[in-house]
């Protein structure tokens, strides 16, 4: 009798103890996995304004710094320099925006005013004004970004590189 009572108590204790542990662990796990459930670090804008359309001369690449703000958990960091881009205004007022990083090994690409070409100083990569690779080791054309113009302001989608 005493023995069976104790066996029963043991089973009940296991069940109750398990329930209690589950009740405590559920919210604990829910909190720990927070970074799976929600973005904790992110840029606050998809399209970043880089200047007025009138600032860009037609046909001549202009280098622009991209600054944006970043949310890092509770903090917001404003005016952070994300990088820079080459902007070329076309005759029809559309824009081409290229990454300043060479698709070969990521060196900074310059604009050669005298030769009218993009030049990568590291391994002598050469690209034309439309970003097409002309010579050198680069495996592809220059990276570009989506753009849009609203109220005369030029915006670049700095998150998506193509």
């Amino acid at each position: 009798m005493e023995k069976s009572r104790r066996s029963f108590l043991k089973i009940i204790s296991h069940i109750l103890g398990g329930t209690l542990a589950a009740g405590i662990l559920a919210p604990i796990i829910g909190l720990i996995i927070h970074p799976w459930l929600k973005e904790t670090i992110y840029g606050t804008e998809d399209f970043i304004g880089i200047g007025n359309l009138d600032d860009f001369p037609v046909g001549i690449p202009k280098k622009m710094t991209v600054t944006s703000s970043k949310m890092d958990a509770w903090n917001i960091f404003e005016g952070l320099v994300m990088g820079s881009v080459w902007v070329i205004r076309q005759k029809d007022n559309s824009l081409k925006v290229f990454s300043t990083n060479c698709p070969h090994l990521g060196c900074g690409i310059d604009w050669g005013n005298d030769v009218n070409k993009f030049l990568c100083p590291c391994h002598e990569g050469v690209f034309d004004v439309n970003g097409k690779v002309i010579s050198g080791p680069a495996p592809r054309d220059m990276y570009s970004y989506q753009t849009k113009v609203e109220n005369n302001t030029v915006f670049v989608n700095y998150k998506n590189i193509t």
């Binding site: 108590l9 204790s13 329930t19 009740g23 909190l31 927070h34 509770w74 903090n75 917001i76 404003e78």
Partner: protein
């Protein structure tokens, strides 16, 4: 498979023997509910440790990040508010349970020979527990924790000779700053837990050595005859008790909506500090010990109490455990306890009837709710307080106090040359103006407009219409608005006041979009413009004196003064406030006032 693995482990570690020793402890006199309090405390300590560790994954101890990280736990995670609530109220539960455990042990006489060291380690554990409460209170770096802890560190400073040195060591400097937090954090999560675990280990080991102290009426014979194994007989009771504790605690957290987080600590504010409830008796004691007597309250009386607890096992040498034989000791402990309870009640009673404290708590709630809304946009790296510095309403208040308050009274403070701005732009304010513009509260003797001679209900209708033009009036009543529109446009108002065309000019101010942001901005810039007061104007114009941001802030602040309006730009749910004939849940009846309600609504 599992059995084989267990055997393999057991062969190499002796786990089975260890478990047998741990669990097969004989409980002489039988398992009892009276013994559950100690294990309940261990359960709560484990719960505190787990919830604390999880929160440490999010918390950042520095004066610029602490509030933000706790805000993040509280508002941006799924279960953070619940875990933090468990941790916060868990500390109170531990104190309550520790007091119950203390009395159970005292009543049973479990401190007597040979259990003196059980008792003494227990007193140390109680001190550590209070240390946890004290150090944890500061960590969110909110107003309450910041100011309450100031009192505690200042008390340390009153200890003769070493006080100042100890204080600086705790604060990590002469004032509160980054090192105060890193030090309190280190105490809270490393030093105190290590100390507590060490003493707990000794406490439990000694308890196992001497066994339970049975009820004084249990005979020796029964003690020898009735022996239950610790597992499962006592463990079952302990688990049931732990479940009850957890259920009550979780229920409490839900009911309270989690632990409070006040606005970020503002060293420039004059916040009235109050400690957590279990320190209130010490706090109240200090009120009676002022001047040279301060040290009596801060050091001498607490020290006498502690010394008594430490020496109790040595001075109580009565042979029986029966309370009847230990009346002097019961009297002493009871007096101390009743004194502490009385002081606590006095402190609570005093605060509940002190108008300043009540107002301050209301303000603190408003600030806290506002802080949460502002923090959603992200907290600048300068720290928690920066949310207010970048807040237009906060800046606007400053501008108002510096430039406008001299003529415009607000909440009983300020000059009387211009209209009183208490509840400015609300229905009540405008109603008063229509009823008697020459009242001291409005234009006084310099007023030109004569009182509107209409029934009171019509005055409310006109107010409803005029204020609804700006589009951010709460609970707009359409019927009243339509009646008001009719009265305004077809009545006598329109004879002097242009309405409908924003640039029209007559003898009195243009009422198109009256008190909207644009209207107010134009007015503040050039009150002597023909569309406002023209030549009858007495207020200086501020065109060119405020920059656009300052003007914007000032206007937002002015709009926030009205209890009937919501700052549309701040309303997180961007939809405009819907017109309704019914009384909406926004009706101002919550005791801490409409402002909080506005912010709470907006934060949803």
């Amino acid at each position: 498979m599992a059995n084989k693995f267990y055997e393999w482990i057991d062969n190499r570690t002796g786990l089975n023997t260890f478990l047998k020793i741990a669990l097969d402890e004989p409980v002489h006199g039988g398992a009892r509910w009276a013994y559950v309090f100690g294990s309940g405390l261990i359960f709560l300590f484990i719960l505190q440790a787990i919830t604390g560790i999880v929160m440490a994954c999010f918390y950042s101890p520095s004066s610029t990040t602490a509030w933000g990280s706790v805000y993040y736990i509280q508002e941006q995670t799924s279960f953070g508010w619940f875990i933090r609530g468990l941790h916060h109220f868990g500390s109170s539960a531990m104190i309550i349970l520790a007091i119950v455990h203390f009395f159970q042990v005292f009543i049973y006489g479990a401190y007597k020979k040979p259990r003196e060291l059980n008792w003494i380690t227990g007193v140390f554990l109680l001190i550590f527990l209070m240390g946890f409460g004290l150090t944890g209170y500061l960590l969110p770096w909110d107003q309450k924790g910041y100011w309450a802890t100031q009192v505690a560190t200042n008390i340390i400073g009153t200890i003769p000779v070493i006080g100042d040195y100890v204080k600086v060591l705790h604060q990590g400097g002469s004032d509160y700053g980054n090192f105060t937090l890193t030090r309190f954090f280190t105490l809270h999560v490393f030093i105190l837990p290590l100390s507590l675990v060490t003493f707990l280990f000794i406490h439990v080991a000694l308890f196992r050595k001497h066994g339970v102290t049975p009820h004084w009426k249990i005979s020796e014979k029964l003690l020898k005859e009735r022996v239950d194994p610790f597992w499962p007989d006592q463990v079952f009771k302990d688990i049931v008790f732990a479940m009850i504790i957890y259920a009550i605690l979780a229920g409490w957290v839900f009911w309270k909506g989690g632990a409070e987080l006040q606005a970020p600590a503002d060293p420039a504010s004059n916040y009235l500090a109050r400690p957590e409830w279990y320190f209130l008796f010490l706090f109240q004691l200090l009120k009676y010990c002022q001047g040279n007597l301060l040290i009596v309250g801060t050091v001498i009386i607490p020290m006498i109490g502690l010394i008594f607890l430490f020496v109790l096992p040595f001075i109580d040498r009565t042979s029986s455990n029966s309370p009847v034989r230990r009346i002097p000791f019961f009297a002493t402990i009871s007096t101390g306890m009743i004194g502490a309870i009385a002081l606590t009640v006095l402190a609570i009673h005093h605060d509940a009837h002190d108008v300043h404290i009540i107002h301050q708590r209301e303000d603190a709630e408003i600030q806290a709710a506002r802080a949460v809304i502002l923090a959603k946009k992200g907290i600048h790296p300068e720290g928690g307080m920066s949310i207010f510095l970048n807040d237009p309403v906060y800046l606007g208040e400053k501008i108002f106090k510096e430039n406008c308050n001299g003529c415009h009274k607000l909440n009983g403070v300020g000059g009387e040359n211009g209209p009183d701005f208490t509840n400015f732009g609300s229905r009540e304010w405008l109603f008063g103006l229509l009823k008697n513009p020459k009242d001291k509260k409005y234009f006084g003797d310099s007023g030109i407009m004569s009182p509107v001679k209409l029934p009171e209900e019509s005055l409310w209708d006109i107010s409803e219409f005029l204020l609804s033009q700006s589009g951010n009036l709460l609970n707009t009543n359409i019927d009243s608005l339509e009646r008001g529109k009719e009265l305004t446009l077809k009545g006598t108002c329109a004879i002097c006041h242009p309405i409908g065309d924003i640039n029209a000019k007559k003898v009195a101010p243009n009422l198109t979009d009256y008190l909207s942001e644009t209207w107010l901005k134009d007015f503040i810039k050039n009150p002597d413009d023909q569309k406002f007061y023209g030549t009858k104007n007495k207020m200086p114009g501020y065109e060119g004196k405020f920059n656009a941001n300052e003007l914007d802030s000032l206007v937002k602040y002015l709009l926030s003064l009205s209890k009937d309006r919501l700052l549309v730009s701040e309303c997180i749910r961007q939809e405009p406030v819907k017109n309704t004939n019914n009384v909406s849940p926004l009706t101002p009846n919550i005791y801490f006032g409409i402002l909080t309600e506005k912010y709470l609504l907006a934060s949803k």
